[in-house]
């Protein structure tokens, strides 16, 4: 307790220096927290799970993947052809659709990429939807019921609401772009995805999409839309474990039913890893250059501040020794001061980062491939104090060691 009081008093003795050191720590812990949050999310998405995970089936060679929708029924059974074959526990089909609210001005804000899917599967097959807070889950359930009831309904992410300046209940017209030219869709917004990962997603009923593809043929004197035959982008399968996944993947990849075009079956984590492969060096740089450079800077600043402190207090430390303080006690005292500064600044910084970014900004908006918004994970609340504390301990070790080694005779000789 005495130590704690002493530490508090010493930290408060030079408030300006303590404040400046804390500020540097806070600023750099903020950078580290943001960087690690992005890396944490990427790592979470690309870490293979061993149980109850999702696999994705896509066209084997070409991108974007376009398989015949006729594949869907057989794929939903995991390509099983015999009673003994392995089967997925759940499935969901994705047909991509791209349209714009303003055909005259194609901007990031005006373009919407949507998926046509089975409404029920939004709750069971979208990653993270199975562990939503109760209120969000109930709302999503209500929106899905509306989507099922309204053929032209659409559930959109928050970004779309902002970009289109629309509200739930309003109508939305999308003009097909690129491969989807000629398919213009009119929707009624029936709900919004919970804030976070799906802020840039929009999902609608696949029956509506199928109808519009048929209508195109009628409108164009029997000429089918180029996407009419091949419009299944991804088939998601849920498998209970790795063994089942391996069997399902083998069934699908060896099946003659999926030969033209050939398909591949991989875990969702593996698919996402492949997508991020193009950004491999960038992610490496962020992980091994940016974050360490911030940590090194915190370390240097804290080391500097503590060594200045120790230098200024050599006399006081000598007096403490005269009063009976042991060298290790002085070491602990100096380390404690620095630790207190580092931990408190780190905690305040990560707490503020968590609160401001998650609650105030609705996540960190940094489009990286198909990812748009990054949330600061709860784990960040302990990253801050840990980073601040560890940097403080490391940075103050040598100054503290020098404080421990203060020679009473030398100090008093200089004073004399």
């Amino acid at each position: 307790m005495t130590y704690l009081k002493l530490i508090f008093r010493n930290v408060g003795r030079n408030p300006l220096r303590s404040l400046l050191t804390a500020m540097v720590t806070m600023v750099l812990v903020f950078v580290v927290t943001v960087v690690w949050s992005i890396l944490f999310t990427l790592s979470l998405l690309t870490t293979e799970k061993s149980q109850n995970f999702r696999a994705m089936v896509t066209e084997r060679w070409s991108i974007p993947s376009r398989m015949p929708y006729a594949y869907a029924t057989s794929l939903s059974r995991g390509g099983a052809r015999h009673p003994s074959d392995a089967r997925p526990t759940d499935w969901m089909s994705w047909q991509f659709y791209g349209g714009t609210i303003d055909p005259g001005k194609l901007t990031r804000e005006s373009i919407m990429f949507c998926i046509a899917c089975e409404p029920d599967k939004l709750a069971t097959m979208l990653e993270g939807m199975d562990n939503l807070p109760a209120s969000d889950a109930a709302q999503l359930h209500r929106d899905i019921v509306k989507l099922k009831a309204k053929r032209q309904g659409i559930i959109v992410g928050h970004n779309h609401l902002i970009n289109t300046n629309k509200r739930v209940g309003e109508r939305l017209k999308l003009t097909g772009i690129a491969s989807f030219k000629g398919i213009d869709l009119e929707f009624e917004i029936v709900g919004v995805f919970p804030v976070g990962r799906y802020d840039s997603l929009a999902a609608f009923n696949r029956d509506y999409f199928a109808n519009e593809l048929d209508a195109y043929t009628t409108r164009h004197s029997g000429r089918k839309h180029p996407l009419a035959e091949r419009n299944l982008s991804i088939m998601w399968l849920k498998v209970p474990d790795t063994a089942t996944f391996n069997r399902v993947a083998a069934q699908i990849e060896s099946s003659p039913d999926f030969a033209n075009p050939a398909v591949k079956c991989e875990t969702a984590a593996s698919g996402i890893s492949s997508f991020l492969e193009a950004l491999r060096d960038l992610i490496w740089g962020v992980r091994y250059l940016l974050a360490p450079a911030c940590l090194a800077t915190i370390l240097l600043v804290i080391a500097n501040a503590i060594s200045i402190n120790v230098r200024e207090r050599r006399m006081e430390l000598a007096v403490m020794k005269v009063l009976g303080f042991r060298p290790y006690q002085i070491l602990v005292l100096v380390l404690g001061e620095s630790l207190m500064l580092g931990v408190s600044a780190g905690f305040i910084s990560s707490g503020l980062t968590y609160g401001v970014i998650n609650w105030g900004m609705g996540g960190l908006h940094f489009p990286l491939g198909f990812l748009d918004t990054f949330m600061i994970p709860k784990a960040a609340l302990w990253w801050g104090p840990t980073v601040g504390g560890a940097a403080a301990l490391l940075g103050s070790f040598f100054p503290a060691w020098s404080a421990r080694s203060v020679k009473v005779a030398d100090v008093f000789a200089k004073v004399a």
């Binding site: 400046l20 050191t21 991108i63 974007p64 491969s179 989807f180 698919g271 997508f275 940016l290 800077t297």
Partner: protein, 442 residues
């Protein structure tokens, strides 16, 4: 702009040195006496500025890619509504019609036009140490006449030759079995040649002619076929650096894309290209197409670059704030140790502003030393390559970026370091300036 600002900053710094009455050697001696503190503060600047230099060099490389790629006299034609080559489909008859337009330059009676099928395909590279099989996305450009295409795009070969009319060669010529399927001949951009070369197995590397990249005669697998390198493009700093070129008919058959994705037409000059673009976009009635001047098309791929630039600007600001607080701490400590010095200086007749200038200079010197070392370290990364993406609103390409440290980047680094030194030293210098001589000596 940036070099001008730097020049202004250097002029200010030199003016401070010139008008400062307290000799700079006084500050330098103090810095050398407190060398540990000086070193640590400078090192913090080295880390911040070094990192920013590397990040800016990366963005600089990306910027160069989108700015340098493309010929101002070329027009890229894609299907109507297609914002990217990968989602474009143009029929053979439409392509032939457009090639015959009078605005298209002819050489030896042939239109200077390149018919192309651009594809992104999966390639499973060797499994990593964790045993997970990943996919890599490769960019293939199916070309009909490689020499013509190279002329239209303004490209040349670094080594080797263009692929043959057939586009294939016997496997036995590359050391394989005569019974094996013929190898698809490919011309690689230097970047993708490095990328593919990097992911070879140890056994392959042990016997490789060139350990750095795939070289002439080396083979690799894409789709169900084995491919052989017959040429390497001189393409550093261009988006073509990440592409594999092969015979269009083979690419189309292998990956089931029987239409063209783009047609690149050469007009007589930039003005001609603008006219051709406008004609195709508004007055051409035989097919609905999207036409863009090639340089403008590649410029639209700078969205990722802009996004990275914003991120760097944000990081630079945040880290600069850290640097300012760091140097402020050091300078306050320096002043608190030299209160008596300040008193003596004042009694010797030095004015308040002399004290201010002296401490400001000291703070800027600490920052400048660290910043210069940081810039120097950052310069070492000039020419390094890294994989990335360039993208527009609805399309993009994987690219190999060559980091480019320019004068602008170095100037920005030094300017930032001087600014941090100035702002970080200002408050402590003001507090030193306001000290009363007698109180300081007491």
């Amino acid at each position: 702009m940036i070099p001008t600002l730097l020049l202004i900053a250097v002029v200010i710094l030199l003016t401070l040195v010139a008008i400062g009455k307290i000799p700079l050697s006084y500050n330098l001696r103090n810095l050398s006496i407190r060398w540990k503190t000086t070193l640590m503060t400078s090192l913090a600047f080295t880390a911040v500025i070094g990192l920013l230099t590397v990040m800016m060099a990366f963005v600089g490389g990306m910027q160069q890619l989108t700015e340098k790629t493309g010929q101002p006299g070329n027009v890229v034609v894609m299907a109507d509504g297609a914002t990217d080559e990968v989602i474009s489909n143009i029929s053979g008859s439409d392509v032939a019609e457009m090639e015959s337009l009078p605005e298209v330059v002819r050489r030896n009676g042939r239109p200077m036009a390149s018919r192309e099928t651009y594809l992104v395909v999966n390639q499973p590279p060797a499994a990593k140490s964790d045993g997970r099989q990943r996919q890599r996305f490769l960019q293939l450009r199916g070309i009909e006449d490689p020499q013509l295409a190279a002329t239209v795009h303004g490209l040349a070969l670094l080594s080797g030759s263009w692929f043959s009319e057939a586009g294939v060669q016997s496997a036995s010529a590359a050391g394989g079995s005569a019974a094996a399927a013929p190898l698809v001949q490919a011309v690689l951009g230097e970047g993708i040649a490095h990328e593919l070369g990097r992911s070879r197995s140890r056994q392959e590397l042990a016997t490789a002619k060139n350990r750095e990249r795939l070289d002439l005669g080396d083979t690799f697998r894409v789709g169900n076929r084995q491919w052989v390198v017959v040429g390497v493009l001189k393409s550093v700093g261009l988006t073509f650096n990440s592409e594999i070129w092969a015979k269009r008919s083979l690419v189309a058959a292998l990956f089931g894309k029987d239409t063209y994705t783009s047609l690149v037409l050469r007009s007589k000059d930039a003005e001609g290209a603008q006219k051709l673009k406008s004609f195709l976009a508004h007055d051409y009635k035989k097919a609905a197409v999207e036409a863009q001047v090639e340089t403008e098309y590649y410029a639209t791929l700078s969205q990722t670059t802009a996004q990275f630039s914003y991120a760097i600007a944000f990081l630079a600001t945040v880290m600069s704030v850290g640097g300012i607080f760091g140097v402020m701490n050091t300078m306050f400590a320096a002043i608190s140790q030299r209160v008596k010095d300040i008193g003596v200086l004042r009694l010797l007749g030095y004015a308040r502003w002399h004290i201010l200038v002296s401490f400001l200079l000291e703070s800027m010197v600490i920052a400048l030393v660290g910043g210069l070392v940081g810039c120097g370290l950052g310069c070492l990364t000039d020419g390094w390559t890294a994989s990335s993406m360039v993208a527009s609103q609805s399309g993009g390409k994987s690219v190999v970026v060559q980091l480019a440290v320019s004068t602008n980047i170095i100037s920005t680094g030094i300017l930032l370091t001087l600014l941090m030194g100035l702002l970080g030293g200002l408050l402590p210098a003001l507090s030193a300036m306001r000290m009363k001589p007698l109180e300081a000596l007491r």
